[in-house]
C-alpha cells in the first residue's frame, strides 16, 4: 500500500474517481484516446514516464468523479495488461483490481488486412485476444489473420 500512496502523490491526489496505475510507458496516451474523455469536461490528470519501483518507468491516469466498472476497465487491458485500477472515494483506495484481458474485443480496432470483408460491409470489427509474453495477439474473427497489438490502429 505504501508504494501506491507514493505514486498517488506524484500527481495531484483526487477525491473521488479512478486511478489507472502501472501503465507501460507510451500506452497512457492510447488509453486516453480510447476513453474518449478528452473532449468531455471530465477532469483528467496524466503522468507520463513516472518513476516506478516495479517497472522503472510507467504512465498513470487519474479520472476525477468517475468510477470505472470492471468491464470498462478490462477493455483497456489490451494496452496495459498488467495495469491496476484503483477506485478512489474520499481520497482513499476503496477497491484495487488488476486489469484482466477480455477474450475478445469489438469495434476498437480496424483489421489491418485490407482485403478483409470488414472494410467493405457495415459491420463491427471483432478480434479474439491472446496474451503472449510481452505482447497481445489479436485474431480477426472474420479473416482469421493474427496481429500483434502494436500493428493495429484504433478506429
Amino acid at each position: 500500500m505504501n508504494s501506491i500512496k507514493t505514486t498517488v502523490h506524484q500527481v495531484e491526489a483526487i477525491c473521488h474517481g479512478t486511478v489507472i496505475d502501472h501503465i507501460p510507458v507510451g500506452q497512457g496516451l492510447k488509453i486516453l484516446k480510447n476513453l474518449q474523455l478528452l473532449e468531455s469536461k471530465t477532469r483528467i490528470t496524466v503522468g507520463f514516464n513516472l518513476p516506478s519501483k516495479i517497472m522503472q518507468l510507467k504512465d498513470l491516469i487519474k479520472i476525477e468523479s468517475r468510477l470505472f466498472a470492471k468491464k470498462e476497465a478490462d477493455k483497456l487491458a489490451i494496452f496495459a495488461p498488467n495495469a491496476t485500477i484503483n477506485l478512489i472515494q474520499h481520497y482513499k483506495i476503496m477497491q484495487k483490481d488488476k486489469m484482466k484481458l477480455p477474450d475478445s474485443i469489438e469495434g476498437l480496432f480496424a483489421c489491418p488486412n485490407l482485403n478483409c470483408i470488414t472494410h467493405d460491409e457495415a459491420i463491427v470489427s471483432k478480434f479474439k485476444l491472446l496474451q503472449q509474453k510481452e505482447n497481445t495477439a489479436l485474431t480477426c474473427i472474420y479473416c482469421e489473420r493474427r496481429f500483434l497489438q502494436n500493428m493495429l490502429k484504433m478506429i
Binding site: 470483408i117 467493405d120 459491420i123 479473416c143 489473420r145
Partner: protein, 316 residues
C-alpha cells in the same frame, strides 16, 4: 460410426479448418470413403443448394454442382459477379439474407477474406466456404487430406514434402494446419521470398511438429511419402525472375529416380508447369485422382450438413 461428426456438422456451417479436430477429420474421411464406394443418390432429394460464386472458379463450382446432382439435389446460382447485384452496390450481407431464404444451403466463393464468416452470421441456412480470398477453402483441404489417406492408408508417420509458393499458397497453409493433428513431419522447399510465413513455423513449433527446410528439391524427394506441389503465381514475378527463381522448383520425371515406391504427388490444380507432363503416366501421379476426390469429399460434407441421420451402412 459417424455420430460425432453428424452431431457437429448437421445444420452447421463449414467455414474454416479450425472448426475441425482430429476425430472429426477421421470421421469425415470414413464418410468420404463410403461416398466413394457406395454413393448416396437420395441424400439431397428435394433440397435446393445456392451456388454463389462472386469470383470465377470453374473447377470448384463444377465439383460442387456434380456432387449436388449425384446426391439428388438441385443447384441454383451464378458463377461470377457479372450479373449479380453486387455490381449495383448490394452488400454481401443483404444478398446472403435474401438467398438464404430461398435455399437449403449456400456455397459461397468470394474474393474477400472473412466473407464466409460474415455470411454465416446472417444466413438462416448452412454456409459452405468455397474460398474466401486467401483465407480458407476447407473443402479443398478435406479432399487433400482424404487423398493422402487414400493413397497411403494412414495419416500418421508420413513425411510430407511441400514445394513451391509456400508464402501465399492458401491450400498448403490449410493442409499443414490439418496435418498437424496427425503424427507427420514436413519438408519445405520454396524459392527465396516465397517461404512459409513465420506464424506457421511458430504454430508447428507450438504443436511439436518436426520440419526441415531444403533448398534443393531433388535431395528432399527420397524421404517423401507425399509431394504436395503448389502453383507459383507467375504474375507475382517478371519473366526473367520467374525463369531464374522458379525453374529449380519444377518437378521433373528425372528427379523421381530415388523416390519411395509408395510416394504420391498431389497438386490442387490447375497446374502451370510445376509438374512435367511425363510424370502423369508414372505411378507417382495422384493429382487427377485428387481432383475426383473433390467431388466425393463435397458429397460427404453436403450430406452431413443436411441430414441428421444418414444411412451410412456399416464400414470397418
Amino acid at each position: 460410426m459417424f455420430s460425432n461428426i453428424q452431431n457437429q456438422l448437421f445444420n452447421n456451417h463449414i467455414l474454416s479448418l479450425s472448426q475441425f479436430d482430429r476425430m472429426m477429420l477421421e470421421d469425415l474421411i470414413q464418410a468420404i470413403l463410403y461416398m466413394k464406394t457406395h454413393g448416396m443418390p437420395n441424400a439431397l432429394s428435394g433440397k435446393v443448394i445456392g451456388s454463389c460464386f462472386m469470383e470465377p472458379s470453374t473447377r470448384t463450382r463444377l465439383s460442387f454442382d456434380v456432387a449436388i446432382k449425384r446426391l439428388g439435389g438441385h443447384v441454383i446460382g451464378f458463377d461470377n459477379n457479372e450479373n449479380t447485384s453486387s455490381r449495383k452496390g448490394e452488400s454481401l450481407s443483404d444478398m446472403m439474407c435474401v438467398i438464404s431464404s430461398y435455399v437449403d444451403a449456400i456455397i459461397l466463393r468470394h474474393p474477400k477474406e472473412g466473407s464466409a464468416y460474415l455470411a454465416s452470421q446472417l444466413s438462416s441456412v448452412p454456409i459452405i466456404n468455397a474460398g474466401d480470398g486467401s483465407n480458407q477453402h476447407p473443402t479443398q483441404t478435406v479432399l487433400d487430406l482424404f487423398s493422402i489417406y487414400e493413397s497411403q492408408n494412414t495419416l500418421d508417420g508420413l513425411t510430407i514434402l511441400c514445394v513451391g509458393d509456400l508464402k501465399y499458397g492458401r491450400t498448403v497453409h490449410s493442409l499443414i494446419h490439418a496435418l498437424s493433428y496427425f503424427k507427420v513431419q514436413f519438408i519445405f522447399v520454396a524459392p527465396e521470398g516465397l517461404q512459409l510465413p513465420q506464424y506457421l513455423i511458430e504454430d508447428l513449433d507450438h504443436n511439436h511438429i518436426a520440419y526441415e527446410v531444403y533448398s534443393h528439391l531433388e535431395k528432399a524427394i527420397p524421404q517423401a511419402d507425399i509431394i504436395y506441389m503448389t502453383r507459383i503465381q507467375q504474375e507475382r514475378l517478371d519473366d526473367t525472375e520467374y525463369q531464374y527463381l522458379v525453374t529449380p522448383y519444377l518437378l521433373k520425371k528425372a528427379m523421381l529416380k530415388k523416390a519411395k515406391s509408395n510416394m504420391k504427388i498431389l497438386h490442387p490444380l490447375p497446374r502451370l508447369n510445376e509438374i512435367e507432363l511425363a510424370i502423369d503416366h508414372t505411378p507417382f501421379a495422384y493429382y487427377f485422382q485428387q481432383a475426383t476426390n473433390g467431388m466425393y469429399a463435397r458429397m460427404a460434407l453436403l450430406t452431413l450438413l443436411l441430414n441428421k441421420q444418414a444411412h451410412w451402412g456399416t464400414l470397418t
